[in-house]
């Protein structure tokens, strides 16, 4: 569903992404895991068409995000690292605006609005000003705007960052619920998040993929934490047989 091919992105002299490739399978939640500064946000901004890659490309349902940009963008719901709220708009007006912007017809907007308000638990908040909402509710509105045009693909950049434990729990539940049969890419630097809600994990460190694996295929007894720490502490994560080797080593310790 999402195919990321050899993405490279440099900001001036800084190469933030150094050749990332992975696939997100249709209808599954992919955890995009990496320490701060690994290049998660950069990769997601390229996937969503916000900015171009220096080289490489991304296919959304077979559509190239650069060449068929408008068509491809139509399929994506995106929650950036900071929820993109207009702080002086009311929640319902804001969501209506996003719905129109994403191409919903006038007649479809009401129903879509009603639906996302319900799914995201925002019914009570629909007349509040976005700027007056708590961080947890802002995140919900952020999810609601990503969801409003019912996209087959959801890209969520660290959706639980900066929330308190109860809110984190609620947002995770919500993501789980709204994922449905959508393809979801969710970035995080929190390990348990991945094991709780994802089917597949891609670990990146310093702009490179160090592991791409289905969670169920991780050897029994392997903790993701060990895989992660091991992967990112490797001196040269780019060389030889990365993923399998990593897994075997970590797995062996548990055998």
């Amino acid at each position: 569903m999402i195919e990321v091919k050899n993405l490279v992105k440099s900001y001036g002299n800084v190469v933030a992404v150094k050749g990332i490739s992975f696939k997100a399978d249709e209808g599954a939640i992919l955890g995009f895991l990496g320490p701060n500064g690994a290049g998660k946000t950069t990769t997601m901004r390229i996937i969503t068409g916000f900015m171009p890659a220096t080289s490489g490309t991304v296919l959304i349902d077979g559509l190239d995000i650069f060449k068929n940009s408008l068509e491809a963008r139509r399929k994506i719901g995106y929650l950036p690292e900071n929820p993109p709220l207009y702080t002086d708009m009311r929640v319902d007006a804001y969501l209506r605006f996003v719905a129109r912007l994403r191409g919903l017809g006038r007649s479809a907007v009401d129903e879509a609005l009603e639906h996302v308000l319900k799914v995201c638990g925002l019914e009570e908040m629909s007349h509040r000003i976005c700027g007056h909402l708590s961080k947890g509710y802002r995140q919900r509105v952020g999810l609601a705007q990503a969801l409003i045009h019912n996209p087959p693909v959801l890209v969520l950049d660290e959706p639980t960052i900066g929330l308190d434990p109860r809110q984190i729990h609620e947002i995770r539940e919500l993501i789980h619920k709204l994922a449905g049969h959508r393809t979801v890419v969710l970035s995080t630097h929190i390990l348990p998040e991945v094991s709780q809600i994802c089917q597949k994990v891609v670990i990146i460190a310093d702009g490179r993929v160090v592991l791409e694996e289905q969670l169920e295929k991780l050897p029994a007894g392997t903790s993701l934490e060990e895989v992660f720490l091991h992967a990112i502490s490797k001196e040269h994560p780019e060389d030889a047989g990365r993923a399998e080797e990593t897994l075997e080593e970590v797995g062996a310790g548990h055998a």
Partner: protein, 281 residues
Amino acid sequence: MPAAPRKRWRRLARVTPDSVAASKMRNAITIAGKELAGYFVQPVAYVVMSVFLLLGGFFFFNMLRYFEVVLQMYTAMQNPEVLARLNLNHAVIEPLLHNLAIVLVILVPAITMRSFAEEKRTGTYELLLTAPVRTGEIVAGKFIAAAVFMLIMIGLAGIFPLILVMFGNPEIGVMMSGYIGIAFLSVSFVAIGLFTSSITQNQIIAAITCFGLLLLLYVISWPAEAGGSQFGDLLRYLSLPDHFGQMVSGIIDTRDIVYFLSVIVVALFLTQRSVESVRWR
């Protein structure tokens, strides 16, 4: 959730592809509507409007009073020749519009500085640029909103000539020409303001750069005063007060309209390039 309503929502929410032209306009209007509503929830817009109209009133009544004094003086002196030459347009509306144009040099940057800079700062830029919308539509939407705001403001300043019409006998055609001139001027200013806002995420930088550019358009012909080279002609052509002054004095010339339209087109084109370059940097 029960399955049935969800299915219904899915079907309704599916995007029906409009004709391309219609959808282009639709996206621009969606953005313009949101922007325009946005102007009226922030105090800046009301402050700008109030300052504009209060200063306008101040200029208007002062010039009107001055006109009255001169009128009485010449009536007392029984000087029919000069009396015949005294003219409400010349004495009141023309200076009023020239002064308001200067006020706009200061106020327009305050109105447009937010447009792109604020979106970049708060992150809503990511929402705009990842929506299935062309950059041209974003620029058009923001331009329409700011232009409509300006025209509302200029429209409200129409109260001044209206007062003259009620109590005096001004030449309505000349006044109309002047107001069309200030409408073109304000819309050109807005286009320049959008451009400066698109190049930065700092509102203050956007405002000051805009102010600088607008002021430059006012004084750009100064070096030409010395000589009559081709370069001097170019500078004189670029000079804003010349074109505006023509319209204020009642002459609507296509050359002046072409001038304002070119300023608008060039500024919006640069804005579009600048928004696009953020994407392709």
